[in-house]
């Protein structure tokens, strides 16, 4: 029984990381109507920036995380402004640029991997954070690093929810996600909101990267695997739905962890996709998705 609880706890904390990346992907999808294929690389860049800040400045973990999240968000905004938005100039905005966007996203993922390779090299780097001793509950020993992930991710999700639901900026972002013309005619600066949405999406990805880094190594290819898992999570939950992204992330994490623990660790990655296939067979729009595109 303790073994099961252990696996579930590990699954939930890894699931939180998937959920953060999936949230970013879903947020960008709902706001910009693009599927951002370079999001795994944003996660990787976030982890590297976190590592650099942690080593070079000697800041504690939380300020490091916040600063890395902020800086990666800015990098995301820059990427969107300089590269992605260029495609929309042909007319029709993001909604129409579709296939071109996918290609540019893939290209960006290759470019970012190579930039990271040139800066930080090919070797996996450790991110040693002294989290302290595991917390003992009964005869369970929960590693602090996992608790950190869950708590930090929850705090970020609550903040995101409050911003979207309770502030004028959040209201404007939801408006842009639903109908850019009406948002414009309500006086919302739509291009600025698109930057904000993309920046926040990237910031969430970076948070996931900095959170997972103390457990895993930081390396150039770390984004490829997470992207596929986050897509699985987003689709399981219902693509474009923010609560769905969180639910999907947690489900993928737990199913993966249980599968690895009980069936085979070697085939760990398979279980996420078995879950994906099952969900798509039962409810093609995802667990919290609706048949039509319901956004943000």
């Amino acid at each position: 029984m303790d073994y099961v609880i252990d696996l579930v706890v590990i699954g939930l904390s890894i699931g939180m990381v998937y959920a953060l990346v999936a949230l970013g992907i879903s947020l960008i999808y709902s706001g910009l109507d693009i599927i951002h294929f370079a999001h795994g690389e944003i996660y990787m860049i976030g982890a590297f920036i976190g590592l650099m800040l942690f080593q070079k400045t000697g800041l504690p973990y939380v300020p490091t995380l916040l600063l890395a999240v902020f800086l990666t968000g800015l990098i995301g905004i820059l990427i969107e402004r300089v590269f992605y938005r260029r495609l929309t100039r042909a007319g029709g905005g993001y909604t129409v640029a579709g296939m071109g966007m996918v290609i540019v996203g893939f290209g960006m993922s290759i470019v970012l991997q190579n930039v990271a390779f040139l800066i930080w090299g090919p070797k996996p780097l450790p991110f040693p954070v002294p989290f302290g001793l595991p917390v003992e509950i009964g005869n369970l020993a929960l590693p602090m690093s996992y608790i950190w992930i869950v708590v930090t991710a929850l705090v970020l999700m609550v903040i995101l929810n409050l911003v979207l639901k309770k502030t004028m900026i959040g209201l404007a972002m939801r408006a842009v996600a639903h109908n850019k013309d009406i948002a414009y005619l309500s006086g919302v600066n739509v291009p600025l909101m698109i930057s904000m949405i993309f920046g926040i999406g990237c910031a969430l990805g970076a948070a996931a990267g900095v959170l997972i880094a103390p457990i895993n190594y930081v390396q150039v290819q770390m984004g490829t695997g997470i992207l596929i898992k986050a897509f699985a999570a987003a689709i399981v939950g219902g693509f474009g739905s923010l609560p769905g992204a969180v639910l999907g992330g947690l489900l993928v994490g737990v199913v993966e962890s249980l599968g690895a623990g009980f069936v085979s660790g070697t085939y760990k990655d398979i279980f996420a996709f078995i879950l994906l296939i099952v969900v798509l067979m039962v409810k093609p729009s995802g667990i919290l998705g609706v048949a039509t595109k319901a956004k943000a």
């Binding site: 004028m168 209201l171 939801r174 109908n179 009406i182 414009y184 005619l185 309500s186 006086g187 600066n189």
Partner: protein, 249 residues
């Protein structure tokens, strides 16, 4: 900014979508405190003219002066800040937001809680039914109530002028009367209105001046009470035969 000059002055406006030119040099004027009706059949350029004025599409040529300043080519949110708001056709609200959230979004440029609260109260006095439903999702509203949300959202930034694109479209006759009554009341409170309508008779009863647009240019214009009985207006609007005339009477 003399009160003698028109609130909105469109000169020789040219524009369209992609490579399709729809406006071929349309000119019109809206004086302060006036309701002006813009009439015309389908595909004559009514909505395009409003979109070019509100900034949703960039005009290709001509000029638009609002309250003494050029606004052609500006971004829509900047034009809203200047005090000119468009309410689009099709009762487009945000279904996943409550009525009150929809309305508050209209005051996005205001950034002053007291002013927003005042504007909200004023909209609720125009549309009491919205106050009763303010915490409901707008996706659950009827067509008439949705149109009220859209007009209300347009009023939330306390604009100098509002442009309504077919406020009576796809509404029951009784609701149409309500909507027109409220537009009348809003104008009495000092608003300037440019109204695109298919409901020619109602629009001309309400308006003081009318324009008929055809093939992207203004075809006929004149004081509204003269136009109601003008056969040319009917024919141009119907784009059809004299036989159709009887149907409209």
């Amino acid at each position: 900014m003399t009160s003698g000059e028109p609130m909105l002055h469109i000169r020789e406006l040219v524009g369209g979508y992609g490579s399709v030119q729809i406006l071929n040099g349309a000119s019109l004027k809206v004086d302060r405190g006036q309701i002006v009706a813009l009439l015309g059949g389908n595909g004559t350029g009514k909505s395009t003219l409003l979109k070019a004025t509100s900034g949703l599409i960039k005009p290709w040529g001509g000029s638009i002066t609002f309250d003494g300043e050029r606004i052609d080519g500006l971004r829509p949110d900047v034009i809203v800040r200047r005090g000119l708001v468009q309410v689009t056709q099709g009762k487009e609200a945000f279904p996943a937001m409550t009525v009150e959230e929809n309305l508050k979004l209209g005051a996005y440029v205001v950034r002053d809680r007291a002013k927003t609260a005042n504007a909200l109260e004023r909209v609720y006095t125009y549309f009491p039914v919205l106050k009763a439903k303010r915490h409901q999702l707008s996706g659950a509203l009827s067509g008439g109530q949705l149109q009220m949300v859209c007009i209300g959202r347009g009023l939330m930034s306390s604009p100098k002028m509002i442009m309504l694109d077919e406020p009576s479209a796809a509404l029951a006759p009784q609701i149409v009367m309500d909507i027109f009554r409220i537009i009348h009341r809003i104008t009495k409170d000092g608003m300037t209105v440019l109204m695109v309508e298919q409901n020619v008779r109602m629009a001309l009863l309400l308006a003081s001046y009318g324009y008929v647009i055809k093939d992207g240019v203004i075809h006929i214009e004149g004081p509204a009470d003269g136009m109601i009985y003008d056969d040319n207006v009917r024919l141009s609007y119907l784009g059809g035969t004299v036989a159709n005339r009887e149907a409209l009477l």
